[in-house]
């Protein structure tokens, strides 16, 4: 196969969530010295972006998004160590958790998978995460973004409590805060002082990338 054929294969097979074929494609690419960066940026990422676009249009459904993202993850498991060697700029690190008092996690888990598929390093703190744990883990991992998820109108006020805890710990400006969950709105996100909100997993990826880019543009490395 030519390099172009491999890139096309990675794109096509990721799009339909065929994980074994994607892994085979990556290994074949490596065997013929195709650069890991090209496989990532010219095959896998465009494919997952297309998956996200189809999902937003209503052409793709949740299971299709999940298996595509998992196929991408399989490829990333192979490529990640190689990309680290060549010093590719990381998409970003995303620390995620469902707020204290809330155990809902389907939406959060979907976000995690889509984020990982898009190249993020995701650290998932699980459900019922108290503010002090978010503070401690942000200090430990120094993520680009922290995501708070809440499914109930009663637990949404924890967004504010978490943000207050970050302020108190003096780390609010170090991290981008995103919020989400079924009852959450842009208006509510603004009211609690979050940096970003998105309505679903696919737009969360876009939003996170956009906010990270904005921040990197502001602070030249």
């Amino acid at each position: 196969m030519t390099d172009e054929e491999i890139l096309q294969l990675l794109y096509d097979e990721t799009l339909i969530g065929n994980a074994p074929a994607v892994i085979d494609g990556v290994n074949q690419g490596l065997a013929q010295d195709l650069e890991p960066e090209r496989m990532l940026y010219d095959g896998l990422i465009p494919s997952l972006e297309e998956v996200g676009a189809r999902f937003e249009r209503g052409d793709y459904f949740v299971p299709e998004m999940l298996i595509a993202a998992r196929a991408m993850q399989g490829a990333l498991d192979i490529l990640r160590p190689l990309l680290a060697e060549t010093d590719t700029q990381q998409v970003g690190t995303f620390l995620m958790g469902t707020v204290k008092g809330d155990v809902h996690d389907i939406g959060k888990n979907l976000c995690n998978i889509m984020l990982e598929g898009a190249g993020f390093t995701v650290i998932d703190l699980g459900v019922n995460v108290p503010p002090e744990k978010f503070v401690e883990q942000i200090a430990a991992h120094n993520p680009d973004v922290v995501g708070f998820s809440a499914f109930l109108t009663t637990t949404m006020p924890m967004f504010k409590a978490n943000i207050n805890a970050l302020q108190k710990a003096g780390i609010r400006d170090k991290v981008i805060v995103m919020v989400g969950g079924a009852p959450v709105t842009q208006e509510y996100a603004d009211a609690v002082g979050a940096d970003g909100y998105s309505a679903d997993a696919s737009s969360a990826v876009k939003k996170a990338k956009e906010l990270i880019q904005l921040k990197r543009d502001q602070v030249p490395a």
Binding site: F61, V62, P63, L66, V103, L110, L152, M156, A182, E187
Partner: protein
């Protein structure tokens, strides 16, 4: 074990030998932007029309949820309940995670309400059960606890046991606790529904409790959701589910009523045949006018 709920003048009985209890899910602003905006502005007219439409479509009860961010939920749920009670005469399931909203709802409810819901978390049990006991209501108990949603049926059964036992401590009879065995979305986990079905059978066999779940969860993120819900409900009923908060789309209601007959809860097909005649009469009426 029968759970008895009442509106102003109607009684609904939920039990293993009763027809399945359909609780209409529609009056819930989560994910309904226009409806949420109306409610925010104090306009509850949609509550009245949704109540009537769901009862006409076959709902035995209605669920009412007032969960909108940054609104006075106790106040809103009161006005929604008043509107619904004026529009229809069926028992209501008062749905909120805010204790004050449950309390406010119970204070204006005429009859014997179903409270949605408590979990097996100590704090929630201590806050909600006294309220349920004081108002002589029944309650839905979600089979999860502080640690999240248990993966195995056995763990969910333990949560259910804990809720029934705690309810007993407050003088709430076992028949007045409906266990929610937790329906998860099959689109995110291929085994999600088989786990729910196994949980339903286990709770029926071990506790004999009535159960209620949010049936539409199973089809989240998939096309033709009503058809999936309509496929799921008879399976859940065969496993022992006795009520659900669900869509009153025709395919869902019909599939529940068919399963009632097939499972022996509609003797000699009396309700099934009566519903057929009513539809036929309505069609003939429409043709002659």
């Amino acid at each position: 074990m029968d759970t008895v709920l009442r509106s102003r003048s109607k009684t609904v009985t939920i039990g293993a030998n009763q027809p399945f209890c359909i609780i209409g899910e529609r009056i819930n602003p989560t994910g309904r932007k226009a409806f949420a905006e109306q409610l925010r502005g104090g306009d509850t007219s949609q509550v009245a029309s949704d109540s009537i439409a769901q009862v006409l479509a076959g709902a035995d009860m209605l669920d009412i949820n007032a969960g909108i961010p940054l609104v006075d939920e106790p106040d809103l749920i009161k006005s929604m309940l008043r509107t619904a009670q004026a529009a229809v005469d069926v028992p209501i399931c008062i749905d909120s995670s805010v204790i004050e909203a449950l309390e406010a709802g119970l204070s204006v409810y005429e009859g014997r309400a179903l409270v949605n819901s408590v979990t097996a978390e100590d704090e929630r049990l201590e806050e909600i059960l006294p309220l349920v006991a004081r108002h002589g209501a029944a309650v839905i108990g979600l089979a999860n606890d502080e640690t999240g949603i248990p993966e195995t049926p056995q763990q969910r059964l333990e949560c259910a046991r804990k809720i029934v036992s705690a309810a007993g401590d407050y003088g709430i009879a076992p028949e007045d606790v409906l266990i929610d065995p937790l329906a998860m979305t099959v689109g995110a986990d291929t085994e999600a529904v088989t786990t729910t079905l196994a949980t339903i059978s286990l709770i029926r066999d071990e506790l004999g409790a009535n159960m209620c779940l949010g049936a539409s969860n199973v089809s989240f993120g998939l096309p033709q959701r009503h058809v999936l819900n309509a496929g799921f409900l008879p399976m859940a009923m065969a496993a022992g589910l006795t009520s659900a908060i669900m869509s009153t789309a025709e395919v869902c209601v019909q599939s529940v009523r068919a399963a009632d007959l097939l499972l022996g809860h509609d003797p000699w097909g009396g309700s099934w045949i009566a519903a057929h005649r009513a539809r036929k009469a309505a069609l003939e009426q429409a043709a002659t006018t």
